[in-house]
């Protein structure tokens, strides 16, 4: 490491000022902006923009191309499409309700477990139920413990 040939691997302090970060972002946005200003990378053919859906602001155009609804469904009535999706919609409704019942129960459970009571003895450690010989690290404390919020030097908690 002391020889001149190894000087290139000497540790160096990398300095990255705010101006370099902002400059990088500027270049990034500039390149994207230039590409955008030149319009679509892919030529858009006429049928892909649907005039009936040009709504909202001037020049704002709408549509995945598949909104053209080509093929078997062209000309289908509202009732016909509703019939096609009725079963899966009913099932989704049921699933959604079940999910929210489960989510509500889980949140109620969490409130029971963690609701911040005005006591000082509700500190729990992950290692409490484990045999001592398996605990190789300091147990981590539940985050209610105020020690979690104290500033510690880097590496002290490892």
């Amino acid at each position: 490491m002391n020889s001149k040939s190894a000087q290139y691997i000497r540790p160096k302090t990398v300095r990255a000022g705010a101006h370099s970060v902002l400059g990088f972002l500027f270049l990034l946005l500039l390149s994207g902006g230039v590409a955008f200003a030149h319009g679509e990378a892919v030529e858009v053919s006429d049928p892909t923009i649907h005039p009936v859906t040009q709504i909202g602001l001037p020049e704002a155009s709408m549509g995945h191309d598949h909104s053209a609804a080509s093929g078997a469904l062209s000309g289908a009535t509202r009732g016909e499409i509703a019939a096609l999706i009725a079963d899966s919609q009913a099932e989704e409704n049921f699933r959604s309700t079940a999910r929210f019942i489960l989510l509500s129960l889980a949140i109620i459970g969490l409130i029971y477990l963690f609701y911040p009571r005005s006591r000082s003895d509700d500190v729990v450690t992950v290692g409490e139920t484990e045999p001592i010989h398996t605990i190789s690290n300091k147990p981590f404390h539940e985050a209610t413990h105020q020690r979690q919020n104290q500033r510690r030097p880097l590496g002290q908690d490892s």
Binding site: G63, T97, I107, P116, S158
Partner: protein, 359 residues
Amino acid sequence: MASLIPDMLAKLQKLTLELRQVSIVLGGLLVLFFLTLITTGILLSFFYNPQPEETYRSMTAIVDNPFTSFIRNLHFWTTDLFLFTLFLHMTRVALTKPSGKPRRYAWWIGVGLFIMVSAEMLLGTFLRGDHESLEAYSHFFLGVTGVVGGYLPFVSVITDFFSGHVALFRFYIFHAVLIPFSIMALIVLHGVFAPTFRALATPFKKAADRMALGGLGAGTTASQHGVFSVPSVRKLAMTFAAAVALIIVLSLTLPAPFLTEPYAGIELTKPPWWLLWIYALENVWGLTPLAFAPPILFGIFALIPLLTKERQGADLGVYLYLTTIAVLIALSFWAAASAPVAHTEHFVAEAEEAAAHAH
């Protein structure tokens, strides 16, 4: 008989302790779900075609093939469990109070993560290429141009960027590359500040340090048993294993929804469960809440650490969080029970009328 009640009480106490410990590793569980989603997403991307004319056909092929269908179901149910766990993780942190600088920063970065995850989920819905996908896209488009555009005209740049033939491909790039990378970056930043995340990562850091210093062999008990001898890591691994088993069962028994081909101008479906609360608001006020409700929700979440005091007992932050969640769930129940309502059709009808007048 006399010892039965104390026994039961002891078991209940042990169960409570177990559940508390599991609740503390939910953040780690989210990271593992995220990795699962990346894996299944990569597998799906081999078969998905974002070229609009081919999207629905490629999705039909994915659904029809048993293997790709299973992968898609895994992706879908992992997403569901991811969101479910996210809500629980947020609730646990809100109840254990994000006070003090590190935990406040962790919370705010977490809100950023929540926003990115919401965007990711929405884009995932757009990519399905079925009728619900088109309705979701119509809501996005009309919400941005019709509502937000009324206040901030320059937003048409966004909708123009996501319009036309390349729209799906651009959504795909955002869904598969840009947002996942942003989420990963935010997870790292989140981990710098979140205390339980640091604690969960510590055993891995120690193992990595030992490897870097010349092998896992010498010395401590932990090095003999590896990271899985650490209770928190073992708890996380067991919870994840149980979750994966559940996801596999759900994927085999309940396929992810896939509707008919998209049909423009007709609105018949309800959004996915995690958007139902906005749907309920739309039932009352039309499309307007689409533009205002999400920022208000994220704003409320961002406010919580500022109302949280570094002392024991519940405070305004806890009350605000629980009230918000209760309102969200109540609105979602209401929306799930209500009949489907069309929110975008009249926009399209008005546009058609305007086009007819112009001609």
